[in-house]
Amino acid sequence: MSELTRRVLFSLAGAPLTVIIIYAGGAVLTVALSILAGLGAWEFFRMARAGGSNPLDIAGVVLAACVPLLVYAGYLGVYRLPFTVGVFVLLTLLASVIWLRGIGGRPLVAVAVTVAG
């Protein structure tokens, strides 16, 4: 199968699926966004590593995937993320690089890339 054929077939399948997921909304949209955010973060960290950074990949992927879930929880009124929780997540990342990266592991870059991704 040629590259163009694969591209066209994927688009033909992907476009209606996108509309169906958006139409379904709620948990379906949230799970889809969560998967995409997690995969996107994974790709981001792969590229960051290729560019010479050393991010905290697992923490970053989990945090990215949690964002849609937290937004959905806020919409449902189940849980509203207090600002302080975000601060504690940042502090945990900052603290973890003391052991996970150390002096030679460019700890500031590691945290910055993890938060960005």
Binding site: R7, F10, A64, P68
Partner: protein, 166 residues
Amino acid sequence: MYPALLTYMFPIRYHDYAVGDVAGTVLVMFPIMVTWGTDTGAYVFGRLMGKRKLIPSVSPGKTVAGSVGGLLVAVVMCALYARFILEPLAQLTLTPLGILAFAIAISVADQIGDLFESLIKRDAGVKDSSSLFPGHGGVLDRFDSLLFALPVAYLLLGHLLVRSPG
């Protein structure tokens, strides 16, 4: 944070003015269609008239003509979508000035998103962010424009959207 910006689909889908599933879906598809218009216009105009490069050090394929063409097609796409899809299906619309502002803002955000992803890929020395989607690269390749366009769309729709009369 960056890939999680797709989450802006959610508040657009459940915008206060979007009553019902169809209206919410149509509203989310609005910035998606404008970015699609921008990308298509940029590709066509770039192929036909593109001589002067936009930012060759970041993305050698992008041209000034493509960028302007993308902007023009975005305005047309935005006007057509607002008139023939948003208004009848969601009972929502934008003023002519609103259409212009929305199209320009989304198109610019789209193109900056595209350039940003090109920059990080170039820095990393990779062609695609991954090969998750056959022929399309990865999640970031597919959604690079939307990651910038969706927050802008959410911000603007809150100010520009009006309920259509009748």
